[in-house]
């Protein structure tokens, strides 16, 4: 293990390098570009024994990733925003084929109008695919999540999407602990697929299937998702044992006695923690629920964390127009059969990189009684 000051993008590239992927097909897009820039350098220099495939679009990147993974090798790609949208069709195929591709998405708004700054519209609109989704708060968490992602994806044969906030994480220097290759190898064994494209053992993949079989395969994906909590838990324990860093499906800060809870996914958790400290100094009992895993959605953990007489403000950085913020939807759905439900505020805190400062959150907490819980809430 060594300590270094790294950009979030560089930390991710280090994590990918430690995971020893064989194929990295990628197409550059702001703010993901640094990640693949560093990876292409690593492969060119021979530091990473992988083939970096320069493709002509994200659609091709996803298709190449699918092919590579189907051929039985560990595969990584990264994108952002419009790039993720362009991949959409193939992302479905990758799930259907049960391929453990790991993808990093640097969260960024989608036009129009043109905007390169961060929100979560791009990944939230991909939530129904069948990819696992984790939102990271720090560069360290992003690096660690890459290793966990490969471990879990390969165990359950489902693809894994790791989200970081564009610029806020990708372009910011942070102190990062980089595991040694030996440690990483101990955590993440080489990938041994059960089935892969093999001329000596011919079989076909994704050939036509009629309704009965198709239905069965889709049911199997859902069952795997539901069963994945055990594997995720096992991965976290194993990770803690080797790297001494603890991770969960969710994370909390001063939650137990909190009367006001902010629910956050991504780097905004950091700002919120500072706001909570400020509020606590003024005797406002605020706390944080950070959602790491959005897919599978950890209903049980969230219900346990939010039950009691709490006011819960859900910070969304995306919304489903005509409905509500996606995180709010999920939490409401989790509480449907619970007797005691918290008061939920569906807050759209930031889109397209609209700045969120500590005082915005503090003011919001102080004005909570004036908010209408039946409406989608917007900032001034």
């Amino acid at each position: 293990m060594q300590k270094d000051m790294l950009l979030g993008s560089e930390a991710i590239a280090e994590g990918v390098k430690l995971a020893r992927p064989k194929i990295i097909p990628a197409y550059p897009i702001t703010p993901q570009t640094h990640i693949i820039e560093v990876l292409s350098e690593m492969t060119a220099k021979g530091e990473l024994d992988a083939t970096f495939i320069r493709v002509e679009s994200e659609l091709s990147a996803a298709a190449a990733a699918m092919g590579a993974s189907q051929a039985g090798v560990r595969t990584f790609t990264a994108t952002s925003s419009h790039g993720l949208a362009l991949m959409h069709e193939v992302l479905h195929w990758i799930v259907g084929a049960r391929l453990p591709v790991v993808l990093v998405n640097a969260n960024r708004a989608i036009g129009s109008p043109w905007n390169i700054w961060t929100d979560q519209t791009d990944s939230m609109t991909q939530r129904d695919l069948g990819w696992l989704q984790v939102y990271c708060e720090t560069a360290q968490e992003a690096l660690d999540t890459i290793l966990q992602a490969f471990y879990i994806a390969e165990k359950i044969q489902l693809p894994f999407m790791v989200m970081i906030d564009g610029f806020i994480l990708s372009h910011t220097l942070e102190e990062v602990l980089i595991p040694s290759q030996d440690e990483a190898d101990e955590f993440l064994p080489p990938y041994k697929p059960e089935y892969f494209l093999d001329t000596n053992n011919p079989m076909s993949f994704g050939a036509a299937a009629k309704g009965d079989i198709f239905y069965m395969l889709r049911k199997s994906i859902e069952e795997t998702m539901e069963g994945s909590f055990d594997y995720i838990d096992e991965a976290h324990k194993r990770f803690e044992k080797i790297f001494k860093r603890k991770y969960g499906l969710i994370d909390t800060y001063l939650l137990d006695d909190a009367e006001i809870v902010f629910v956050v996914a991504g780097a905004l958790a950091g700002t919120t923690k500072v706001a909570i400290d400020t509020l606590r100094k003024n005797n406002v009992k605020a706390g944080l629920l950070k959602i790491r895993y959005f897919r599978p959605f950890p209903k049980k953990e969230i219900v346990d964390a939010l039950k009691g007489d709490k006011k819960v403000v859900v910070f969304n950085k995306a919304l489903s127009f005509g409905s509500s913020g996606q995180i709010t939807q999920e939490i409401k759905e989790a509480f449907y059969y619970e007797d005691k439900k918290p008061v939920l505020y569906d807050y759209i805190l930031s889109l397209g990189g609209k700045e969120v400062f500590v005082e915005n959150i503090v003011d919001l907490a102080n004005n909570l009684d004036n908010l209408d819980k039946f409406k989608i809430l917007w900032r001034e």
Binding site: G96, A97, P202, F205, A209, K210, I213
Partner: protein
Amino acid sequence: MESVEYNNVISEEDIKKFPISITTTEVNLTGSWRFSKPNFEEKISPCSVGCPANTNIPKYIFHLLKNDIKTAANILRDENPFPAVCGRVCPHFCQEKCNRKEYDGSVEIREIEKFVGDYALDIPYEKAQLKTNKRVAVIGGGPAGLSCAYFLAKNGYKVTIYEKENFLGGLLIYGIPSYRLPREIAEKEINNIIDMGNIEVKLNETVSFDRLQELKNSYSAVFFAGGLSKDRIPNNIELDNEKVFSGYELLKKLNTDKSFAQKIKGEKIAVVGGGNVAFDVARTVLRLGNEVEIIYRRTLQEAPSFEEEKAEGLDEGLKITEKSVVTNIVKSKKLNLTLGKVDKIVNGDAQLTGETENIEVDKLVIATGQAKEFEIEKDDKIFLGGDYEHGAKTVIEAIASGKTNAYKIMAHLENKPFYFMNEQDNFLRSKRDFDSYKVVDFKKINLFYFDKQPPLKINKLSAEDRVKDFKEVALKPTLDKILNEAKRCFSCGVCNECKTCWFFCPDVCINVKDGVDFDYTYCKGCGLCSAECPRGVIDMVEDK
């Protein structure tokens, strides 16, 4: 239509949790989805149409690039027994038609032909077998006669060539100067033809009109390609073969009498005419150390000589007096010429302005064209060809004429239709209807597969160096450069096994070997192969 076992493409036995099938997808007969199908049909490249002898240019280039230069040479010589000669003196009509001309400049086919032709010089032909007792007389041992003899002998006929000179080759030997066509090159190609067998050569045999009638009785057919052996001289000039010569006469004299060149060295010589012969004579005597002036009644631009000859001649220091004719000659020790300025030419006659100029020269050479010695009618036994038939034209047109007539003679003697005789050894004329051939035009070429690359630049000896002797003007490019140039060939309409179709076929039902085979059991008729083919050999046709 569904194939019977469609349900089993993925079966419950195969699947655990992945969409994997170990039953073969071959049960899914995707060919049943098709409503149009790819059809492999090679077509004709425009260069092959441009070539009077219809050489299969893309095909020999294909074999050259496959490192099989021997097959390349054979394909070339199947259509034309003079590739080394044509690689030097042919104006290359093929290059005019080349599809690449519109893109980044025609392929330098001439250089490639020269390269393959030179290689073939040392490859003798397979010995010709005698297949019939029918005998054919060929009058004239120039390119037309030799070409006719070649195709007849190859097909098993006994041929006798009657040549009035004491050597074969006609103007290849005495007409075209060796700086354009080294003599040994022409001689080797001629010898190869004769060595093939079935050909008897009678030298120093002048065939007069009366003799021709005799030969007609002794042979099954006669091919007359006696050329244009009579000089066409302006009325006011008389040849004396001392000071006033015809173009061919002078060239022949220089060829046969070695001391003659020495004798005339340093003299001033005027050459009248604007055709290739005029330029050949002028450039030849220039090389012998003479001062030369060409006198031509039209402008240089209008002169019918090859542009290349004109340009090279000017570089070498030829002096040209345009729009002038010789109106009077006073013979003394020297020749005193009066040149009349031409105003315009009406119906072939020069109308003068009245301006005159006098020049003094040592020799006058008249190269204003050739004419027939005597008139012959063609009949059921006499076939006419070469310059005698079509007037003064190029070497390749003479060769093509000999070839066409050989096939006409064989068809006539065997009482078969013309095309029938060609099926074995002429790729282009082997179909009944020549016009029905599909020629691949520029629009059919998939340019995605071709980067722009300018044509090969041919290096030549410098003008100062080449006037010193009779060394060949055009220098040979290196093998690398030739192969690079060959790679520029689009191979229009001719499959060169690039396998682009195979690469794109999503149903893995293409096999490329000696053409393209389709497995129609699985071909869905998507048309990718046809759309991607760089050279237009795969067409989509309706499939009911």
